[in-house]
């Protein structure tokens, strides 16, 4: 890494760490929390789809798994949400392997379509599963006092902010590690030409399953965070197809298969979503969604490599 890059990174990290001290209003903090949450989700998706080339449109399954793990653990007083975060991640990994076994037999678009189907099946199951609150959802009981053990903070969003920042750094760190390891090369080889990869000794199915497992675990951890942050979950908020698509859009807008793409995508898309919702969302004409959709179309047509691709092109031109 060049010195300039390192300096920019450190400044950004310092700014991110100092932000809650400088901005105490809850709303900007909430926007930042959502940016970091979606950046982490998109990064998790990026590991499977961007690096390993397996486009999943069913990632809400794992987000929901993490969220419901927290919901059930806290509602039934089984254990701390932190334990739920680990258990949720483990269940998500197991689920990813069960789903992956048949679905990874499909390639390309067929794989993506199959993940939509599996996502919808899980969604419908959750809507009808009484044990987890069915369509009514789950309220996560409020615990006092505010504490890390309880993973609930009602006085200030600052701790939530730092937790999700930690998740984001974890996502970036894991991705960086993968990029620089044999696994990262294998992921990209499978993405580019899986038969050629196999001919060189890459166990293709195992490599895909590995990408799916890492991606699912990280996504589930975000789900647990969401449940503890919002304190209410239902199938419509943690398992819908629209969530799976949004995760994918953030990564696509920022740049798939790149380290910083998901964060950049989230930093643009989440505030844009907020702005369009605030300024044109009340017109009843869904204008906010139109603007949102148009932007995605422009980026995917003009520069499929996303904002990171545009930045690279500008830098080369300069």
């Amino acid at each position: 890494m060049s010195r300039t890059r390192l300096a920019v990174g450190l400044v950004l990290l310092a700014a991110a760490v100092l932000f809650p001290a400088l901005v105490t209003l809850p709303y900007p903090r909430d926007v930042l929390i959502r940016i970091f949450l979606f950046a982490t989700l998109a990064q998790a998706w990026n590991i499977l789809a961007g690096y390993c080339g397996q486009i999943s449109l069913g990632h809400a399954i794992f987000f929901g798994t993490g969220a419901y793990a927290a919901g059930m653990f806290v509602a039934k007083d089984i254990a701390s949400p932190w334990v739920a975060m680990v258990v949720g991640a483990v269940i998500a990994v197991a689920l990813s392997q069960v789903i992956g076994a048949p679905v990874f037999r499909l390639r390309g678009h067929y794989f993506a379509i199959a993940t939509i189907a599996v996502g919808e099946i899980v969604h419908i199951l959750a809507v009808n599963w009484e044990l987890i609150g069915a369509a009514r959802g789950l309220y996560i009981p409020i615990k006092r006092p505010d504490s890390l053990v309880n993973f609930q903070f009602h006085q200030s969003k600052a701790v939530y902010y730092y937790i999700v920042l930690g998740l984001l750094l974890l996502g970036l760190g894991v991705t960086r590690l993968i990029e620089r390891s044999r696994l990262g090369y294998y992921f990209r080889a499978v993405r580019e030409e899986q038969d050629a990869a196999a001919s060189l000794g890459v166990a293709v199915a195992r490599t895909k399953r590995m990408a799916f497992a890492i991606s699912a675990a990280l996504t589930a951890m975000c789900g647990t965070f969401y449940a503890q942050y919002v304190l209410f979950i239902d199938p419509e908020s943690v398992l819908p197809l629209s969530l799976s698509i949004l995760i994918c859009l953030v990564a696509v807008l920022g740049g798939v298969g790149t380290l910083w793409g998901p964060l950049i995508g989230a930093a643009v898309l989440i505030p844009l979503g907020e702005a369009t919702r605030i300024y044109v969302g009340g017109t009843g004409k869904a204008l906010d969604l139109v603007i949102y959709g148009a932007l995605i179309m422009v980026v995917s047509v003009a520069q499929p490599a996303g904002l990171v691709g545009i930045a690279r092109r500008l830098r080369r031109a300069a």
Binding site: R180, S181, R182, Y185, Y186, R188, A189, R191, E192, E193, D195, A196, A197, A198, S199, L200, G201, V202, A203, V204, G257
Partner: protein, 239 residues
């Protein structure tokens, strides 16, 4: 003992017989050519040996061990590397990164893999192009790249599907020299090739296929006199 032994290999695609009772063997360090008209089943044979297709009948043995239903990656790890007739570079990766994927078979260490890959690229004459993206390489360079990638796995047996196919005349001598050097270094090779001058020149033995069947298996000097091979493939001009 043979390094590779193929016995009674048969493969149907619907009503089409791609390979019928194909049998031959390759000794360590031997260079065997495979010839035959289009559709004779040459590439299918490679796919069957390397696990990309499963035979309907027959056996593939490596060092006497049955590997017939092994996956491609398992066969690769047993020391069999291959190239594809239709080039399959990792287009979005640099030449060096392409070859590193092969090198990772023997090591998980990135620096070591990079070193092995650099040597493999240099050995095929692509050392200067290490940092170029695979999609920016010419067809001849891509052929060399695939060769380097296969070599980086340190194979004992290399299957080459059309070494000179699709490359310009000026590039052919270099590729042929490369194959000769690999053979001289002790590597066993099976080479599918349409350029008769090339295949006759480099092969110690030639297996001729027609309609999925072996019609001859002999040294080049005998192959050119074989009536069935002349009728099926070579034509009278080779006599």
């Amino acid at each position: 003992m043979s390094l590779l032994e193929v016995a009674g290999l048969t493969k149907h695609f619907g009503g089409v017989v791609a390979n019928r009772e194909v049998s031959f063997s390759v000794a360590p360090g031997e260079l065997v050519g495979v010839i035959g008209p289009n559709g004779a089943g040459k590439s299918t044979l490679f796919d069957l040996i390397t696990g990309f297709q499963r035979p309907d009948a027959g056996v593939v043995r490596l060092d006497g061990h049955d590997v017939t239903r092994r996956r491609p990656d398992e066969i690769s790890r047993r020391g069999v590397a291959r190239t594809f007739q239709k080039l399959r570079p990792f287009a979005g990766m640099t030449a060096l990164e392409n070859v590193m994927v092969g090198a990772f078979q023997k090591t998980a260490d990135v620096a070591e893999a990079r070193e092995v890959a650099r040597r493999a690229l240099a050995s095929v004459g692509l050392g200067e192009r290490a940092d170029a993206h695979a999609q920016g390489l010419s067809t001849g360079q891509r052929k060399r790249l695939e060769l380097a990638r296969a070599l980086a796995t340190s194979p004992r047996l290399l299957l080459l599907d059309e070494v000179t196919g699709g490359v310009d005349q000026a590039t052919i001598p270099g590729l042929v020299r490369l194959v000769r050097e690999l053979h001289a270094g002790g590597l066993a090779l099976v080479v599918i090739e349409h350029n008769m001058r090339v295949i006759m020149e480099i092969s110690q033995r030639i297996v001729a296929l027609q309609l999925g069947q072996v019609i001859a298996d002999a040294p080049p000097a005998e192959i050119v006199r074989d009536r069935r091979v002349i009728d099926a493939y070579l034509g009278e001009s080779w006599r």
